[in-house]
Symmetry: none
DNA sequence: AATGAATGAGTTTTCATTCAT
DNA sequence: TATGAATGAAAACTCATTCAT
């Protein structure tokens, strides 16, 4: 999985940059950044090609030139997202110091939660792709690769925990990974109806902190050795 | 579908199924049923008002007559869904025999999972409403009411478990409810990307059973007294 | 020209009346009153049959029952308007004391102006009918009758003025009537663009008073004997 | 009357042309020409966007592309009309030879009358805009500018007439301008009902000539010095 | 007479995509 | 390649009128 540094731009979304003379490749990057914002907030069907082009400050034709159309742009947006996930996960694992399994796991769960907190657009993008029954996932390996660093790391942590007696035996790392992602991502995906359901305000920072702590604690508890 | 025979004098049309005659009052129900299917499979923006009307076998205008428009129809569909959730939960709680807390909780988690399994459309409807930032939730009480039977029952089970020593002290019932819904619903909402992520096929019945068992087990473990 | 007293209602427009047990004939009157307001403010094409029924507080079907449809309702509205004009003009002429021609004419012009001021809806109704090239005027005599009292009275005043030397000889009463109506009605029909044209605010009461005085004065001057 | 060559499109109204081939840039002009005809004959609400596009021989979307919608097209049509009025008035004033005030005024009144006679569509457009309470007048200056040449010229003529004793003192030029426009425009706006009112046929050329002469004569008389 | 529902043709507007310069 | 215009299909929504009770 290689990384195209020029696609890690995002000028129109993350910062204001004066239009420079050298527009080489900027159109593509701008489009991806704007598409990410648009697709995630409005869904695939609700997103307008014209608006993406307008917000990105490029001609509509650029979308057809670079991505072939709306579908291609969505696919590229999704792929760029997974690329980012991969890089983030890779960096996370690389930066983790050796530490006891419980600490490592607590930290990992917090990392996943915080990533979704920081990038709710990715939550929406993934949800959208699932609603479309995965029709844009041309390269399933891309997704698997994106999460592999974390899954591998998690499996290793669990194994160490099993050995040193901090974790229960025989719990599938993949299922645990699924648990972690479920609990973290679902929070950001369903805050509106869950707020109504439980009579709480999950949009507040305090509720988010509370929920985060609860998730970390319960997941750890669910893995303890008896 | 009852028919008034006295209005059947005169020659009926051959071959054609009478879409006319007594459509009185049927339109609303038909529309809600079709809308549920359409909105859940295509999302709000991806759903076509014309198609709903056509599939429901009613005139397009009926949607505007009964619901005021696409938004109104979505709102009504969502509300009807929550109404169903309420009835189901109410019936579930009413039918539960007295039993020890762990059994009760296992059963409850399985119930929630199975409901989502049986009604994935409701999953999609709720997801869609969250993507739209809850703009169709006119009546938040409806949602809260829909889940209240289960939340109240869960709180009571947890309390009993705390008392008899099967569950840990001081875990918030609302947070646990959130955990249950997260783990169960997320499975049905993200099977495509999670399949790709983990290299498994979560569309198969076997995987679903495995996942269900895992969720029940881990949630119970996460609540054990130390 | 007979007058149907039951059509001189106007409850929903001119006053609030509690719904009474005896609704006989009220629907027709309500509809005419509301139609007058709607047609005049939105034009024929811009007016909605549903809205008239809703505002009038009657069932839509009543429109078809009483008037045959939108066209019939417009026609009836127009005719009711002319009927009112007739009655007003008849009463005006009947109430005029003998007076010298110039006074009589000044008073008459003011009367015309004030009628349009009081009933701008009639201005719009007439304009609309002209835009439709008079297609609703089934009975042209109705219109002629409506103005006849005033035209006859005007001709008589002019004749007296000619005889006593206050007015010029040989000016057509019909043309003068046309002048009066033109100057008075046009003011109320074109206040928006004329305000913009001349940089004045013809919606203000002061401008209206000024314009009224000017019109009276100039018309009298235009008729003086040399 | 000078003509702005760039506005001299109008092929679809004046003749049949192959609608294909080079349509570049023609759409806008065609649409304005057709819209003028449609809006003036049917009013805003009565006009169909589809029909304008069809008659203009362009795609319906062109209306949204160039004007943003029906409202924008009406506004543009109105503005183009006032533009024409301005050019016409400017040319009229420029072409007027020095002459005595009464002659100048007679000529001016005839000019105004003849313009409305030649362009009854503009009459309808203006009436329509007034019915809509001026909601399309984005730029009031445009309207004021359109008439300014004539108003300024009129004021100057009146002033000269006051000085040389042909006109009365202290009559407001703006009010006189209003008189002229009222009398001339009203004739074309209300010929149907006025014909019925007075039992005359104001659609005939003879009646129009008679009315024109009457208006000119009476306006001049209304301004004479005593 | 009154009412809610139904009808079907139509009306504005939108959209992804392509063309011509 | 960049850009404004063009395209045609379709989308949401509206309307006057009629039906059934």
């Amino acid at each position: 999985m290689t990384k195209n540094p020029s696609s890690d731009h995002g000028s129109p979304v993350e910062g204001e940059e004066p239009p420079r003379a050298n527009n080489r490749g900027k159109a593509r990057g701008n489009l991806l950044a704007v598409a990410r914002a648009e697709f995630s907030s409005k869904g695939f069907a609700g997103t307008r090609v014209d608006e993406i082009a307008a917000v990105a400050g490029v001609n509509k034709q650029a979308i057809y030139h670079h991505f072939g159309g709306k579908d291609g742009l969505f696919r590229a947006t999704l792929e760029a997202g997974y690329e980012r996930v991969f890089l983030t996960n890779q960096a996370y694992v690389a930066s983790e110091k050796p530490q006891e399994p419980i600490k490592a796991l607590q930290h990992l769960i917090g990392h996943v939660f915080d990533r979704f907190h920081l990038h709710p657009e990715m939550v929406e993008l993934v949800l959208e792709e699932n609603r479309q029954k995965g029709r844009h996932i041309a390269n399933k390996n891309l997704i698997e690769d994106a999460h592999r660093p974390l899954v591998v790391y998690l499996a290793e942590v669990l194994k160490r925990g099993e050995r040193d007696g901090s974790f229960a035996q025989g719990v599938s790392a993949k299922q645990v990974f699924f648990d972690i992602v479920s609990l973290c991502m679902f929070y950001f995906a369903n805050r509106y109806t869950m707020s109504a359901s439980l009579g709480l305000d999950f949009l507040s920072a305090a509720s988010t902190r509370t929920r985060r702590a609860h998730i970390v604690k319960q997941l750890i508890r669910s893995l303890r050795a008896d």
